[in-house]
């Protein structure tokens, strides 16, 4: 029987980092809306995780990480809206898209991203974690410390609100 997995093991730490860092950054960004602060908090919280690696059990490392990152972020002043980037439509046959179509598409995308950024914080966070980061409801519930049912309600509300904001286009 080998030793239990430990976050102090450099390889474990690296793979733990690769598994969680990107999602954590997205989460903080969606939640607090300041991209630079999100990156700083990710960096700082991993440094602290490393410093305290001997005290943190491998199984609880993730919640430890999120707790620290959230604490680091909360104290900061809330920043503006989240700015969202999107893929431009892949066009293999270029001529099939008229400039008007491209423009309409762009307008619609702007509308959608703006509406998402103006969602209330909780709704925005849940919506983006589910739709963009593809995190299932139970995992989002775990991160946010609420029930799955609450996440379902937030998702429903977010969609209703987006539909209303965007209107009939």
């Amino acid at each position: 029987m080998g030793d239990p997995r430990s976050i102090c093991d450099e390889q474990e730490f690296d793979s733990f980092f690769r598994q969680h860092a990107r999602k954590l950054k997205s989460y903080l960004y969606y939640k607090y809306g300041d991209e630079e602060a999100a990156e700083d908090a990710v960096q700082e919280s991993f440094v602290r995780l490393w410093q305290n690696c001997a005290k943190v059990a491998f199984e609880t490392a993730k919640s430890y990480l999120y707790k620290i990152a959230i604490n680091l972020s909360i104290s900061r002043k809330r920043a503006e809206k989240v700015r969202l980037d999107y893929e431009t439509q892949p066009h293999t046959e270029m001529d099939s898209q008229s400039p008007e179509f491209v423009l309409l598409e762009k307008e619609y995308m702007e509308k959608v991203t703006n509406a998402i950024s103006s969602l209330p914080e909780k709704q925005r966070e849940v919506f983006l974690m589910n739709r963009v980061e593809k995190l299932p409801y139970p995992q989002i519930a775990e991160l946010s410390g609420v029930s799955v049912k609450a996440i379902e309600k937030l998702m429903h509300k977010a969609l209703l609100k987006l539909r209303k904001e965007i209107g009939d286009v």
């Binding site: 690769r18 490393w50 739709r131 429903h156």
Partner: protein, 304 residues
């Protein structure tokens, strides 16, 4: 609409948890198409850019500092002190020698982050090469660069980047050096750097760019960027000869251009992504009104 009474309706729809009856009713409603379009649009939203390797390197740099600052157990102190005296003799002896060079290479489309011995950071863009002497680093911070690199330099003694065209000298700053064929470009994002080419010298401060090329006179211009775009997955150029763009495309995508290289004296301003060759070619060649054809796997033929 049903979804207004039932407070998880849309959520269950997303999860495919509606009953057949509910689903059929919803799909027949006018709202359905709107929600579908909305979801299709949200699928195109990208998660914010995040450079894992750079962040991991920074975290590790921070860790190193922690190890140094740990106070040694007292019992060990005298032993360590004695060993240091002994080791110091050898160390001083070896420090005189440059030691073996460290060579860092990047392949097509590859980027690498290197933490230099003093904690300064170098990020190499695709198809580039840097050579330095780790053992001599404490005495002389100097490296040789071919290709493109971004440097974030720790405060300290002079830091030098040698290229075939000229030398860039700094004291603690962030800057980008692009040395592709005859083209030489230095952009300073923070602090102050000096570019020397033979007898000529140029001093750049934050937000300034120096460039020179085959048919380009040496020039200092403004370029307000905090970090070069290639660190976030695209390459950006301002008034750069076409040949340099073609070289950069080749380095990024491991492709080869055939046919006549056109418009040798024309300059290009714009950027191309690193993850999509089709788009990259399109955004470079369309503004220039050049026709091209992708032949096979790795060849792009330029047409008149």
């Amino acid at each position: 609409m049903k979804s207004e009474k039932d407070d998880t309706f849309l959520s269950r729809w997303l999860q495919n948890q509606l009953s057949d009856k509910e689903r059929k009713e919803f799909e027949a409603s006018a709202d359905f198409a709107h929600y579908q379009k909305l979801l299709k649009a949200t699928d195109r939203i990208k998660s914010p850019a995040f450079d894992e390797e750079v962040t991991l390197a920074r975290i590790k740099a921070g860790r190193g500092a922690k190890v140094v600052s740990m106070s040694p157990n007292r019992l060990w102190t005298y032993g360590i002190a004695a060993s240091i005296v002994l080791l110091l003799g050898f160390f001083l002896l070896f420090q005189q020698l440059p030691g073996s060079p460290e060579k860092v290479l990047t392949g097509f489309g590859e980027q690498k982050t290197i933490l230099l011995p003093d904690g300064s950071e170098m990020i190499l863009n695709a198809k580039s090469q840097a050579v330095y002497y780790p053992k001599r680093w404490a005495k002389k911070r100097k490296l040789n660069l071919e290709g493109e690199g971004f440097f974030s330099v720790e405060k300290g003694a002079t830091f030098e980047v040698e290229t075939t065209q000229g030398v860039v000298t700094v004291l603690g700053t962030m800057f980008n050096v692009r040395s592709i064929n005859d083209y030489f470009e230095v952009t300073c994002s923070e602090g102050k750097v000096r570019v020397s080419m033979g007898k000529e010298e140029y001093i750049l401060t934050s937000g300034m760019k120096f460039s020179v090329g085959k048919n380009l006179k040496a020039e200092v211009s403004n370029e307000a960027v905090s970090k070069p775009a290639w660190l976030s997955g695209k390459s950006t150029f301002t008034s750069v000869p076409i040949a340099v763009i073609l070289e950069a495309l080749q380095n990024q995508y491991n492709i080869e251009f055939t046919g006549k290289i056109p418009l040798e004296n024309q300059l290009f301003t714009g950027s191309f992504p690193h993850d999509n060759l089709q788009v990259a070619l399109q955004v470079v060649f369309e503004p220039l009104q050049l026709r091209y054809q992708i032949k096979g796997d790795r060849t792009v033929e330029l047409q008149d």
